[in-house]
Symmetry: C2
DNA sequence: TATTGTTATACTCTATAACTATA
DNA sequence: TATAGTTATAGAGTATAACAATA
């Protein structure tokens, strides 16, 4: 085992490695499909708050509006979300899931739960919930 | 507060947000300098294991050899690490820190500790160490 | 044959600046 | 003037494949 030096005491380093491990296993889980972490995030928020504007969804997920455009285009092209102009503010788009989008959300969620169970098998249920609560304290954007 | 749906229960999501928050504050902390998370990682490992080959340093950090090349070039150009051919295996490079590299490692470490203290001010010392241990269980590459 | 470092390449993520249409 | 979405662009991270030199 190679010594890491002071790096090994830094939270930022371990966050990067753990996040990267999750991201890579997520990608493997959805290889040969268009699903990615960030696309699932959009589906989940739109499902929870149908009719929300594109910009608000981006804000909830910590995504810049400029970067949201291609993501929404992708999901619309895949037939997973519908984008309609808000009749009360014609600058804005209201997003909602199509039936295919709802189905995809639920299918993907089941796969993601298996992926997380696999990646987190060394953590007890309590540890897992402790971890989520500690992470929420760091990024500060919790919905509760 | 906007509801996130099932996303809010997923460890992968919170890892991504927390890691991203740390990465962005790190970048701000070292704005106007060439220091980045990954460059600090290389300096730290090389300092802990001087003489190690480029490939071994990459492996310890979870970096592909192909991507390591530019990082080492950058650190050599900055005068922070020395790259000498290993006389026992002339394919390999032995890496070590220059004096400037050692100085930079220690200066940057002090700044990183302040950055982490700032970002993690809502966590107790115990929570912080719990977090690191849980993250180690996920990525599995610990040096102890 | 296998390994070390290298080059070339490509895709994703993320950031900024400037534009348009609406408010 | 300000805001929602858009376009263009650029830097960083990370992945693969193929190559030269050496083992």
């Amino acid at each position: 085992m190679i010594a890491l030096g002071p790096l090994d005491e830094l939270v930022g380093y371990h966050l990067r490695r753990a996040s990267s491990a999750m991201r890579m296993d997520f990608a493997e889980t959805f290889a040969e499909t268009p699903m990615r972490q960030v696309l699932f995030g959009v589906l989940s928020v739109v499902s929870a708050m149908p009719g929300l504007s594109q910009g608000k969804v981006a804000e909830a997920l910590g995504i810049r509006r400029a970067n949201m455009v291609a993501l929404v285009n992708e999901l619309v092209d895949l037939g997973l979300i519908a984008r309609t102009t808000d009749h009360r503010d014609r600058r804005a788009f209201s997003l909602s899931l199509t039936q295919a989008g709802e189905a995809m959300l639920h299918e993907a969620l089941a796969q993601i739960r298996r992926h997380e169970d696999r990646m987190l098998e060394n953590l007890t249920t309590t540890e897992r919930s402790t971890l989520v609560n500690l992470l929420r304290k760091i990024h500060g954007s919790t919905s509760r």
